[in-house]
Amino acid sequence: MSPLQRWLWPLFLAPSLAFGQGAVVKTDEVRAELVADAPEGIAPGKPLSLGLLIRHAPHWHTYWKNPGDSGLPTTLEWTLPAGIQAGPIDWPMPKRLPIGPLVNYGYDGAVLLPVTVAVAPDFRGTALDVRLRADWLVCKEVCIPQSGSFRLAIPAGSSTAAHADAFAQARAALPQPASSATVQASVEGQVLALQIDGLPADLHGKALDYFAADAGVIDHAGPIEQHWQGDRLALRVPLSAQRSESPARLQAVLALPGEARGVQLGFAVQGWPPTAGARSGAPQATAAPTTGIAPMPGTAAGPAPSPVPLLLSLAFAFIGGLLLNLMPCVFPVLALKLVGFARPGADRRQVVAQGLAYTVGVVLSFVALAGLLLALRAAGDQLGWGFQLQSPVFVAGLSILFALIGLNLLGVFEVGRLLPSGLASLRARHPVVDHGLTGVLAVAVASPCTAPFMGAALGAALTQPAPQALSVFAALGAGMAAPYLAASLWPGFGRWLPRPGRWMATFRTAMAFPMFATVVWLLWVLGQQVGIDGAAALLGLILAVAFAAWVFSATRGVGLAASAFRVGAAAVVGAAALGTWPALHAQVGEPVAAASATRSDGSWQAWSPDSLVRARAAGRPVFVDFTAAWCVTCQFNKRTTLGDAEVLAAFRDRDVVLMRADWTRRDAAITEALRRLGRSGVPVYALYAPGEAEPRLLSEILSVAEIRAALTGWPSRAPTSKLAATPPPPT
């Protein structure tokens, strides 16, 4: 700036001030001013910026370009002479503004929203007349939409720099494009997974805020998982359950919390699953909101469970319940039932009453469990049938219970000694209560298996209105209890049993061992869920409970010594329980879960919606084993058919990718994938043939012959070069 210009500068300020009346709009909530920065006057090629400077009253805010869960971005509508072109707002770094369960992105205090203005080569004016209509939404607890008309005349021949500092600050607060950063983005179910390399070194290892620049895509208030692996940042951003947009490119800003500088990222996102109903209006597509399982053409709609007439559903459910008794799941309960039948001195009426009590227990438990599941799903939980065994605390409780039952059968303690005398006599007077509770137990432990033919029906039932759904589950329970009820109603049943005698006591003792076997199985399940520490802690707790049960049973009378023993035993149990509790809530990290999925055979890989899509995109057939540690049928199949050398060889021969989706712990992605297959429980075996949109579902009791038949006609891969390239799998 020459000395002359500097001297003239106040003169030019005068007209600017006169117009300045029109450059400010004041409300109770904001003071908004149209400001300009033209340090070298206005001429082609010289820098010119305009902007709206908003000063908010305390606690009031306006919004960023993506306002977040509510709000509206500020808009600027320019009226400029020909040859003058205003660009878009260069949005400075916003702040996260949480409001209850919602999150907004915006500004408080003072913010300048600058725009860069281009001046055409033929501009010849002596002043620039700028008119602006601005709309903004200003909110504290309440929101007020406001707008202002602004007018400013800027001298062309002199410097306008009164707000140079404000412009400089605003430009410094612009998120900087991270030129060296590369982003890999994929949609995995309800999550946008990002792998970001090449971020500035000063961000490495730090927790960052993520600002989505596109509205209507992410769940702004949802927790964002982030992990630094060296200088690579992995982010898992939750998508909105009501996502309305599927942009091919997304933008986002990463920033250190509370800092005004951020890094701007732009990246392509492929494989958006259709937003609900967005695709060609197929009604089924509305049932497929945002899972990443099937972005392939033709599979988008997903197999919507076709409505089955209610009576037919009930009939199938009854048959399914009958067949449930043949599943390996029911084995522990079968042993208990045998003990029940082998009670001495049961007359016919008693036997019938017991059979009815067991049936009532089973049916009511099925209905209660299904009702709870429906309620939890209505509340938005991603749960499926068998969800109770996904809870480590529940598994621990069951294993303690089975341990106690086993000890009771061994005669370590008698129940009458443990319970308050009132309750004990109630039990003595009402032995049918026992049988009802056996029914409850049967459902708790055995129901997670979906019986043959029932997988589809259960999946469909859970999408029905509650009365229909619950009646299907009631029919399933009735079917499960039917053989026992029939046996107890059959008049010849009593004669069919051996005469009461010493063998009953021996048999009772023998039946303790299936109970302990069940404990072993449950401990293994728990070990899968929370690791070996949790399993060991639970063993300690079982030991303490067993000790206490024995002490309570063995100490007779009310003497001081007896009381001391009892208090001591109770203290041991309490201490053990306190020690076990945190271990039951340990999170097994993904590496362990992956290891359990791949442990049995190196040729299995962990399932994810993404890996499935990738394998299928590569044109390879895929077999998915939906399994869980607590599902005995699953484990049975895994160790027999799916471990069969012939089956594995057949899979290998046809280049089938083997995936295992482990549902031992709660997993929303797997629940969603099951739902899309029309199922809500495991086991499910899905075989994706190359070129076919829908997978073929194999039966729950998987046989070698069935797999062989399913693969018949598929081309074997050429045994020449590929064999050389692939190391022989372990045998």
Partner: protein
């Protein structure tokens, strides 16, 4: 068996099965609810089984709500929907300690003064219904089909402004959705971006 132990084991398992509530998803069963309306009657979503149901989040203090009520747009949409046999539930999830909370009588009087004709105006002062649906703004609109499935979630119309003059040129998504579902057609825009004021939920989760 051992009743006490069994019961506590089951109870423990069931308690831990409760997780964080997520949001309603279009194409899936809509969260069911029961709450009292402004006249003190209990209103349950199940009461309207077999009908289409519109849910409208409302707060008279919000300028975007005022845009659609003062212009007559929302009452007209309500009239059109209820005239076709659709149930319309206006829901207030505004917390009692929020500045623009209206007690039931006030809210009912305001609704009458605007010629609003919802089937019922539901008081959700603990925010449970709003959270279950993931309602973020007033207005925020949802349409549920007769089988209880959510078929629409989003804005009242396509112009996210507070300017009533924009209503004329905007697409009314609720009218569009109702027209399509009653004609047996698929919903062309099942999710849109709701716009408006933040819902003032109570602090307790």
């Amino acid at each position: 068996m051992h009743a006490a132990i069994l019961t506590s084991a089951l109870a423990a398992g069931l308690l831990t099965a409760f997780g964080a509530a997520a949001q309603a998803v279009v194409g899936q069963p809509a969260p069911t609810f029961a709450a009292v309306d402004t006249s003190g009657k209990t209103v349950s979503l199940a009461d309207y089984k077999g009908k289409h149901v519109v849910l409208e989040w409302v707060n008279p203090g919000c300028p975007f709500v005022q845009k659609h009520y003062n212009s007559g747009n929302m009452p007209a949409t309500q009239k059109s929907a209820t005239g076709q046999g659709v149930a319309w539930l206006s829901v207030s999830s505004t917390a009692k300690d929020a500045g623009d909370y209206r007690p039931p009588n006030d809210l009912a009087a305001w609704m009458r003064s605007k010629d609003g004709v919802p089937t019922a105006t539901v008081m959700d002062t603990d925010g449970r219904i709003g959270r279950a649906y993931g309602a973020r703004t007033t207005p925020h609109m949802y349409v549920i089909d007769p089988a209880g499935k959510l078929v629409y979630a989003g804005a009242i119309d396509s112009k996210p402004t507070s300017n009533a003059a924009d209503i004329k040129t905007a697409t009314n998504y609720v009218n569009q959705t109702i027209g399509e579902v009653l004609a047996g057609k698929p919903v062309s825009q099942p999710t849109t971006r709701a716009y408006g004021c933040s819902i003032k939920y109570p602090d307790a989760a």
